[in-house]
Symmetry: D4
Subunit: 231 residues, 8 copies
Amino acid sequence: MNEFLDLDEVQLDIGRRDRCGLPEVIYGEGKSKETILKTFEAFAEKNIDAFATRIDAEKGDFLQQHFAAKGLALRYNQIAKTFRLFNTLEAKPVGKIAVLSAGTSDAPVAEEARETALWTGAEVLFIQDVGVAGPQRFQAKLPLVQDSDVVIVVAGMEGALPSVVGGHVACPVIAVPTSVGYGANFGGLSALLCMLNSCASNVLVVNIDAGFKAGYAAGLIVKGKHKNGGG
Amino acid sequence: MNEFLDLDEVQLDIGRRDRCGLPEVIYGEGKSKETILKTFEAFAEKNIDAFATRIDAEKGDFLQQHFAAKGLALRYNQIAKTFRLFNTLEAKPVGKIAVLSAGTSDAPVAEEARETALWTGAEVLFIQDVGVAGPQRFQAKLPLVQDSDVVIVVAGMEGALPSVVGGHVACPVIAVPTSVGYGANFGGLSALLCMLNSCASNVLVVNIDAGFKAGYAAGLIVKGKHKNGGG
Amino acid sequence: MNEFLDLDEVQLDIGRRDRCGLPEVIYGEGKSKETILKTFEAFAEKNIDAFATRIDAEKGDFLQQHFAAKGLALRYNQIAKTFRLFNTLEAKPVGKIAVLSAGTSDAPVAEEARETALWTGAEVLFIQDVGVAGPQRFQAKLPLVQDSDVVIVVAGMEGALPSVVGGHVACPVIAVPTSVGYGANFGGLSALLCMLNSCASNVLVVNIDAGFKAGYAAGLIVKGKHKNGGG
Amino acid sequence: MNEFLDLDEVQLDIGRRDRCGLPEVIYGEGKSKETILKTFEAFAEKNIDAFATRIDAEKGDFLQQHFAAKGLALRYNQIAKTFRLFNTLEAKPVGKIAVLSAGTSDAPVAEEARETALWTGAEVLFIQDVGVAGPQRFQAKLPLVQDSDVVIVVAGMEGALPSVVGGHVACPVIAVPTSVGYGANFGGLSALLCMLNSCASNVLVVNIDAGFKAGYAAGLIVKGKHKNGGG
Amino acid sequence: MNEFLDLDEVQLDIGRRDRCGLPEVIYGEGKSKETILKTFEAFAEKNIDAFATRIDAEKGDFLQQHFAAKGLALRYNQIAKTFRLFNTLEAKPVGKIAVLSAGTSDAPVAEEARETALWTGAEVLFIQDVGVAGPQRFQAKLPLVQDSDVVIVVAGMEGALPSVVGGHVACPVIAVPTSVGYGANFGGLSALLCMLNSCASNVLVVNIDAGFKAGYAAGLIVKGKHKNGGG
Amino acid sequence: MNEFLDLDEVQLDIGRRDRCGLPEVIYGEGKSKETILKTFEAFAEKNIDAFATRIDAEKGDFLQQHFAAKGLALRYNQIAKTFRLFNTLEAKPVGKIAVLSAGTSDAPVAEEARETALWTGAEVLFIQDVGVAGPQRFQAKLPLVQDSDVVIVVAGMEGALPSVVGGHVACPVIAVPTSVGYGANFGGLSALLCMLNSCASNVLVVNIDAGFKAGYAAGLIVKGKHKNGGG
Amino acid sequence: MNEFLDLDEVQLDIGRRDRCGLPEVIYGEGKSKETILKTFEAFAEKNIDAFATRIDAEKGDFLQQHFAAKGLALRYNQIAKTFRLFNTLEAKPVGKIAVLSAGTSDAPVAEEARETALWTGAEVLFIQDVGVAGPQRFQAKLPLVQDSDVVIVVAGMEGALPSVVGGHVACPVIAVPTSVGYGANFGGLSALLCMLNSCASNVLVVNIDAGFKAGYAAGLIVKGKHKNGGG
Amino acid sequence: MNEFLDLDEVQLDIGRRDRCGLPEVIYGEGKSKETILKTFEAFAEKNIDAFATRIDAEKGDFLQQHFAAKGLALRYNQIAKTFRLFNTLEAKPVGKIAVLSAGTSDAPVAEEARETALWTGAEVLFIQDVGVAGPQRFQAKLPLVQDSDVVIVVAGMEGALPSVVGGHVACPVIAVPTSVGYGANFGGLSALLCMLNSCASNVLVVNIDAGFKAGYAAGLIVKGKHKNGGG
């Protein structure tokens, strides 16, 4: 369970799936494509579904060519900048995670959350551009959302959407502030502070632009719920 | 029009009513009660309706006793900490300003906005505790609000209410962040940033806890509108 | 479901239990004891289990005397500053929430989380003072923690404990930064930023000192899980 | 009135003109030119005057070529980065909005305010480079400004001009801080804080570089005023 | 010239008058009254004019009683919180320093600047409450100010007055931000940033509430000027 | 070595002396005097020299009375707010730690560093008030300082002293920023940033006001050095 | 005296030399080269010595070619990014300004201060790389510096040099923080705060990287001094 | 000992080795390659081992070609961006410094620390990617680390590793925050604050990304220890 692979500049946490419920995810920023490749191959050898975030187009092409040549099933989402290698048969999805975004410009973060949630094995409902300035848009979609196990809400600028969503649903809301905006947005600080101070009691927060973490934690909540027999 | 009274530690701007549409308002913080009294008396002599903010209970009692003894009409609001001296006959209110607060704890700031708006000569609709966590509360009040000339929205914590209100009305919204909250609220910074970054285009912002400025500017908008013959 | 009670300065969200899974919780800061009492009575009339946070000793005594005189079951926790009124029979707890604190000085926030989690109907495991400076302390308690449905980790100063816990468990971790510390702690900012930047993927964050929100969201996760038949 | 168009990644708020007095404005940043085009066409189909901000030269050229080819009236302002499509006959402007800038470097923001104000249907008086370091410059222009319905003041660096203007006019002043400056300007924070703390009571503030919001709100104030019969 | 007195917890810089043009000034905050007394006595023995800032009422009374009993000439200004002991004959003042304040609430800082400037041996022109919201007030006083050798401008809130003054005078302006204000004033940060970003090129800045440093540096400028024979 | 005592709200790290070279130190802030007493007694039972910081006068008196009554050797320093219980015979000090302070007002932090360094078993040279404004003061003391094993420099305000000291000595300098100052000192931030950015390469930094940490780490450096046979 | 030239996007302050002692200086950032040229020509026509800062290489070449072709005397300093056009005969310099820099990397700011001071008509002593980490370097240069009328000290990183210089000279010190550094330097904030909190009483501060403002104000001090007959 | 070389834009501190134990290190950022070369040559002439940081690839190539042509021993580390010139025979390393990094992306800073520590003459143990999210990784390496004289811990994101390491070792820990991360990492602020607030008492901190300073100070600690006869 505490097993790890010593690849010199990377200590690969092979035991995390057993210890923490899901395998380690590779954070691609600041790593060379060779290091990332080496890591994916180590996972493949252990038959672990491998998933990486922050994979830019150049790294994505490199990985796609390499693994496609080997005949492996893979999925690269260029907006999300995620890369996924299917080493196990994909199971029927359990649970339902709704991913909502406040604006079109939030797409990269929302897509990252979606891809991650899919990788954890959940079904994902994906709805974009339902921010509070046009309140009728979220109202129209609400019935689709209400039976979700978790709702992920991605929003930049003032970040008010999670508070509004939180007031309408009976499940946890994971709020993802984005750095979308300008001026006194300060790189996402405005949305982050708004979400941390939400008066809706069911709002949990992750780092700015951390679509991945929202998807991961949502997947874990769904897994726990459905392992326990639910439906 | 550029007249002023030299009271040594105070240079009273007697000309402001003519120059700027409304008389100077006295900011009570950090001024002695003697200085405030002197200022009120100078206004009284000029037959100007005098108004002061940040008048704590002790100063309020002092002023009340002094001017009540002189038989002058006055109004001290202990929650708002405002003091008003009626030197002219009160005219029939023109225009309608709605003052909404997100939570009961925002009362001092909301009351300051209300008192100021009343002093400018407007009619005020006052609705408390309609924050976004219980969205049906604002929805229920919306019809009362929609024919306002200006809506003032007072909110602490995440400060999301102005964005929501802004999406439903066709008049300017003046957002007042309050320092109500704790933790990553940072003295009202969270609400302030949220409001500045509002994706509702009709939201204008004033300083944290500046109920007075919202009321004053709202009054000016209403004055301009109705001077032009509206109704 | 969208029902609310108009108590003038309070608009009581009576419909929240149906809409959001748990009733509205009263935030005691900045509200008068009369307002709080009025709110509790309204809940009592509706047979809703009422719960309030930020109830200082003076308000706590006032509420205790009032409701004890009426023969109602209640619970006031002076460290947590929470007040609870039992209007329904307490059900057998479902699910298990672990509440861990890094240091003894974090007790008020940890207790608030515990009380809230209990009020949501979960069983709570409560372990204090297992911060990272003495790592063997958490190691010794780990076996007790690992079968929890959710782990709440309360920590001030550098706020490193959630990252460490996150690396050992397969359920979501809700991290609560506290304002405990001094100097470059900046009122809890150090712990907050640490937790938001956690490299453990299962760490979700709430506001500084927001023990309540952690307990509430944890309760919601547990409720969702066990409603689905688990256990 | 709550109508919207579901364009997948965009939920177009077709009902905003009726609900909020002016149509939705497209924020171009972070949206592809195809998405923006699709949105403009949807507005055109509904005969709504469409307006977009943050349209860089490349997107601007693309839109110009597309709609010019269709024979539609349009206007692209390269400094303001605004694009406007005339779908209705332009009415005679009502009301007067003065747009003042403190320095020549503030031009992009001032131009954005001007274009937006024009789009709302107001007459615009545009005066540049009248900052406080050369006080005689604003003094000379003051007579032109004083009969405005609203004054928009755009300023970077220390952002002192709105306070000075506010002391001379009897209408609301909308202050727009810009990110012009260096060093302890911190991306416009200096001007923003200065404006929020203005001792002139008639100063309302929008986000840093938010020329658009100032123009929009000013237009709304003017619309409200002149709808009521003024002039 | 590098002489100092070792008083254990204080190392008194006896040589500073020769080295730096003016004697060391005692900063009273956080020092016991006994320590301050010991320091004053050491200066007295060396026939140095001693001056202390941040002397609260209790310490002020203690020092006054002690030195008055000894028949020494002294001056305690309770608003400025400065204490001065005359050990040398007061010379005829040379040079002229204008001290302007934006508002009545800035008095403690303005008075500290005045007292310090007087102690350096300059003549002081003291004008209060001429902030930019009532621009005619400063205009009226401008002729009195224009022949000053240095102008000290003390302002809180938005801190715009130094920029305005700087645009009218041909001598250096020393700007002193004060912590007067509320909300997004952040303890004087708004005024500080405004002054640092002043577009008036002749504005130099000192710390928030540092009336002392402004008076000291102004005195030094005047001393240098008049030592050179000026008039 | 990983031993700990479970005192319920405290998990006492009995094994730290073996694991980390020095026993656990008790942080008194936010702990009740009963909890602190219980901890001291547990250490006493194990014959471990116990040391606590942030012990205010009331707690100090309580501990002094309790342990004096038991005939135990103790030391309470009211400026440093440290309490020490001697459970082992004090050994001859090894190594030399210089503690320098920039100003008299830094005394509480400097004293905390001194007491902690003494408790670790080192000899301490203590010099106060040698800040950079009177540079001859530090120059005069330099010969006393140069043969130290570590120099601790305690400074508030601009925090420049460590850089100056660092340029003159051949041993590590531990810089302790203090919250002494006002205005743009922001609770010690100015000194902290100055020290972190020191161009002297031998300057290490601890938290604001963390005299304890400086003393502790200095003691550890000295211990390591002299365990290795030095002298 | 209040004369200005209306060049549409620029309102040129022709009267500043008379009003403020020195002509307006052109801030090149964000202005087109055509606008800058137009301004220089307007000054040339009025026989005013024109000076501009923030002139990058491209603009500098453009201006040089233009004015060299006209046979005008000019000076472009590529490190300082300043451009100067000599329209009047250069007078014999009066007064002495020392410009010191802490490190070689501060050169652009130090050069800007030097060029500006020269333009004001003073003699300049220029010494680089004498920061506090090698304290003997400044000590060696001190005798050259001590008879200056003003000392400008340019420093990045911790910004400690002005405090040290301030402790050795009897004239005003103008401290210029630079953005040189990394990490917790935060774009010059560390040096700025250090300088604002200097315990040397004769230290005045300007904006980060504002070599120009230091040179300008220093020139004004020197002018005032020597106008009065000094030497 | 206070010798320095005046190279005009650089004042080279030749005496630092004698005064401070190690020679001056060249900070390459913002210096031209010619200036850096001139400095290296001056050191070479004095037979001093020269070392530079922040040498990008272009400058590195230039130096390598120059000195390789002269037949000098050198070492350029492209990840660390350090350049070293061996002017003296390399002695047998004394003491042991462990350099740990939390993640692969921290490599540049960790390498800079390693190169600096090697240059000071110590033996270095280098272990990467042992952050707290996979706690078994550090546990596995702990036995290798425990006999170090100093441990340098390099970590970005939440920066929790130094606290964990500090709880397991009996020597000083020097924590180096890195700017690795995103969102609320704010350029390394999260890791910096976490480390400053560490509850492990043996943690000392340097600037963000300051691998150099950690290596330098660690070298100094080791030097002091082993000069004293240790082993």
